[in-house]
């Protein structure tokens, strides 16, 4: 049964979604347990699959759907990087499902079973997108992820509907550009399997024909739109900040990171490094776009007063890190980019969870929600602080190590603009988060913060932060995972090395 | 695969697309969009893609025109541009 794991990972959430719809009609309280069981099975099979992949000889497994030969049928290929990303997706999905116990009940009453069905199908689509080795199957799964995320956002409050409509329009342009790019590859190579396209590109050396070049540009444009790279990021901040809390905490850490993974997968295993980094001018140009994205993302985050909007602009900056790292063209840049996918997913997840708790408890979306927050919600503030320090890049956390690899890659490639942008954005993150710490730990009017001589009969509430455990525990696990990923970075980078060794990076 | 037939349908396609986008009355625009879908279904059939033509006629022309008219019925009929 263990070699059937890739199919189980994609089927379990699908089955969970169907059960959630069927059982939800009788009793809505059944949906969360169904979702949790489905996600638990998916997470455990993701761990087992990762162990399988690492134990397998070539560090890469292949699964043929329908038993057909890969060129004719659909094939899944799993290597260390995709195994890790699937593990990150299922872990974030599982923890977020626990987090959503109270939030979904309050924010979308009477629609929980639809919410969980869409939630599980989004997780299934993301896992499938990461594993697939077939270009058109990736488009179908991309559409499933897009449709479920449009719907999950549109369930939100008043302004979520317009934000979701804009996301539909821009997301369809992105997905259609990707489809057109695959069409341009198909018209020249006649194959849909990624390895088949790669072999056909190298075999009859059509790599420098205009169709393949334009196909590459179209695929990159489509993927950049879906990952909200700077000039094309217009839809991100409204979509994630007006969406329901649990939609934001699920999509913020995953959607953009999976699209970065797909960009790396397309660059390396379909087009090949000699095609992508053939002309120095174009890859330097993309690194410059990433540099502008980092600077713009950080500056825009600085200007925001709404907490969630600020975090979304940080995502735009982080996407700049990964795109820049991947396009440096050298090994440590690519390692930095793929390691940053995992660390940024964990960091964003922890920050969004903590911000969600504080916004929910204080009911205030702006910065003054943090006034005296440490006194009222000590554990949540600790989690937020760990996430913030990781975002700034302090050593024990994973943020430091990914920045370390990215900067060393940048220096090797001589991209000084990129290195300066990385340091500048760390500085800006520091300013951002210390502004919040100042409000949280040292509130201006000390009295309100520490309540000296507060009303005597206000019995000190010993329960942890008055926040339900279902919200607190996932956040603390996410904060702990930041340190774990950071400390275990040697082993993770070792796996990534073997995964990326086969691609001839400088 | 008669190319004269093919060119005529293609030109009609572009014309109906432009009309559908310029019409101010949304109900009219939806109906012209239905014509656009049926013309494309004719094009697929002419190009030998019979399954695609069948699906386009049933799904593309049939259902999408109906749900678009349903939406126009529930929202505004006049559009400013």
């Amino acid at each position: 049964m263990t070699d059937q794991l890739p199919a189980i990972i994609v089927l379990m959430p699908l089955l969970g979604a169907l059960l959630s719809v069927l059982l939800g009609m009788f009793d809505r309280k059944l949906c969360l347990p169904v979702a949790l069981v489905a996600l638990a099975i998916t997470a455990s099979s993701a761990v087992a699959m990762l162990a399988n992949v690492l134990a397998s000889p070539g560090q890469s497994l292949s699964y043929r759907f329908g038993g057909w030969d890969p060129l004719v049928g659909i094939e899944y290929r799993i290597d260390a990087l995709s195994g890790l990303v699937v593990l990150a997706i299922t872990a974030v999905g599982f923890l977020n499902a626990i987090y959503s116990k109270t939030r979904v009940r309050d924010e979308s009453p009477r629609r929980e079973h639809y919410f969980y069905a869409l939630y599980l199908l989004l997780v299934a689509g993301l896992c499938g997108m990461v594993l697939t080795n077939d270009a058109f199957n990736l488009y179908v799964l991309l559409e499933i992820c897009s449709l479920t995320s449009y719907a999950l956002i549109a369930i939100g409050n008043r302004r979520a509907a317009l934000a979701s409509f804009n996301y539909v329009i821009i997301g369809t342009i992105g997905a259609s550009f990707y489809l057109l790019g695959v069409g341009y590859l198909y018209i020249k190579t006649g194959a849909l399997n990624m390895d088949g396209i790669h072999a056909a590109l190298r075999a009859n050396d059509i790599a420098d024909s205009p169709t393949i070049k334009v196909g590459f540009i179209l695929i990159m444009l489509g993927v950049w739109i879906k990952m909200a790279l700077f000039p094309l990021h217009g839809w991100l901040s409204n979509a994630y900040s007006y969406a329901p809390t649990t939609t934001g905490t699920l999509m913020a850490p995953l959607m953009t990171k999976v699209m970065v993974y797909i960009m790396i997968r397309m660059m390396l295993s379909v087009f090949g490094t000699e095609f992508v980094f053939h002309e120095e001018f174009w890859s330097n140009g993309v690194v410059w776009i990433a540099t502008v994205a980092i600077i713009a993302g950080s500056v825009l985050a600085l200007a925001r007063s709404d907490i969630k909007k600020m975090l979304t602009y940080l995502i735009v900056a982080e996407v700049g890190y990964m795109v820049g790292g991947a396009w440096l063209g050298n090994h440590s840049g690519m390692i930095g980019a793929s390691y940053h996918i995992l660390s940024d997913a964990a960091m964003t997840f922890c920050l969004f969870l903590a911000a969600g708790i504080i916004i929910n408890r204080t009911g205030e979306a702006r910065m003054n929600a943090f006034d005296g927050a440490f006194k009222k919600y000590p554990l949540t503030m600790i989690g937020f602080t760990v996430g913030a320090l990781a975002m700034i890049g302090l050593p024990p956390s994973c943020g430091f190590f990914s920045k370390f690899y990215l900067i060393s890659g940048g220096i090797e490639a001589g991209q000084w603009g990129f290195v300066v942008a990385l340091l500048f954005s760390s500085l800006v993150n520091a300013v951002l988060f210390f502004r919040i710490f100042e409000r949280a730990y040292f509130p201006k009017d000390l009295a309100s913060g520490f309540e000296f001589g507060g009303d005597p009969d206000a019995k000190p509430d010993r329960s942890l932060d008055q926040v339900p455990y279902s919200m607190l525990v996932p956040m603390l696990i996410a904060a702990a995972s930041l340190l774990v990923i950071g400390l275990a970075n040697q082993t993770i980078v070792g796996w990534l090395n073997t995964a990326l060794a086969s691609f001839s990076l400088k | 695969m008669i190319w004269q037939f093919d060119i005529i349908i293609l030109l009609f396609l572009v014309v109906t697309a432009l009309i559908s986008l310029r019409l101010k009355d949304l109900l009219g625009a939806s109906i012209v969009f239905g014509i656009y879908s049926f013309l494309i279904c004719l094009l697929w059939a002419e190009m030998g893609a019979v399954d695609v033509a069948f699906t386009e006629a049933a799904v593309g022309a049939g259902v999408s025109t109906v749900i678009m008219i349903a939406t126009v019925y529930n929202t505004k009929r006049r559009s400013k541009d």
Binding site: R64, V72, I74, L147, T189, G190 | D51, F54, T55, V59
Partner: protein, 252 residues
């Protein structure tokens, strides 16, 4: 906004025109895509030998790339669920949806109702024929499912939405659509239980009388039936919710 649109059009337009010069001529048989020996020529030459279905498009759709088609059915399922989730309880959260109070209860027109009574059974019969005959003639799960759904929509147009909802209420339609996907994924899972990979119909050979190739053909038929269930139910649910803005009353 108009300027942004113009700029985007000019950039992508010039990009595409630059590439279109290099395309193989339209309709030539030995263009790279049409003459690829391992892929499209192989579909044409041994799809009948392996799956016993003359309609190669159905063979490729349901068997070679059956996993794609399963997720296509999931896309329709997602559209239906999403439309209900967005539109239901719009504005009046406490009032129950549906119910029998008719806002403008004009009686359905006699001529329309009679012609519908004549036409709809024929449409549904033809729809079932299209689903069942998908192996030998153009058609299959999607086309047949949409036609069956369209006949329900026709009934809703003729006699008002509540009348159609009495025949197929929304909960029942959702159960029908979920059953469709369960049939599809379940048959694929059955192939896994019998030792093959997911959706490997050859392994369901012991269950079905005829040879391994026929097992492919039967597997495809069952999968198409699952698709037809889902598409029928979801098309009607989409129409019901969009036309009555989620309140399942009134309608067009």
């Amino acid at each position: 906004m108009k300027l942004l649109g113009l700029v985007a059009v000019i950039i992508t337009g010039s990009l595409l025109l630059y590439a279109s010069g290099d395309f193989p001529a339209w309709g030539d048989a030995n263009s790279p895509a049409n003459s690829n020996q391992q892929v499209s020529v192989r579909y044409i030459q041994d799809s009948y030998a392996k799956t016993k279905t003359p309609n190669e498009v159905t063979a490729v759709l349901a068997d070679y790339r059956g996993f794609d088609t399963m997720f296509e059915t999931v896309v329709i399922f997602v559209a239906g669920i999403a439309i209900i989730a967005i539109l239901s309880f719009l504005g009046e959260p406490n009032k129950p949806r549906g119910g029998d109070i008719e806002e403008h209860p004009e009686t359905p027109d006699l001529i329309i109702v009679q012609t519908c009574k004549l036409v709809i059974p024929i449409i549904q019969l033809f729809a079932l024929y299209v689903v069942a005959h998908g192996h030998y003639s153009p058609g299959g799960g999607f086309q047949g499912g949409v036609m069956f759904g369209a006949s329900l929509i026709l009934w809703a147009l003729a006699c008002g939405l509540p009348a159609a909802l009495k025949r197929l209420s929304e909960p029942r339609a959702l159960v029908l659509s979920a059953i469709g996907i369960i049939i599809y994924a379940g048959w694929g899972f059955l192939c896994m239980l019998l030792g093959g990979n997911f959706l490997e119909y050859a392994f369901t050979d012991p269950l079905l009388p005829e040879g391994v190739e026929k097992a492919h053909s039967h597997g495809m038929l069952i999968v198409e039936i699952g698709v037809a269930f889902t598409v029928t139910a979801i098309m009607f649910v989409i129409y019901a919710n969009l036309s009555s803005r989620g309140r399942l009353k009134g309608g067009l």
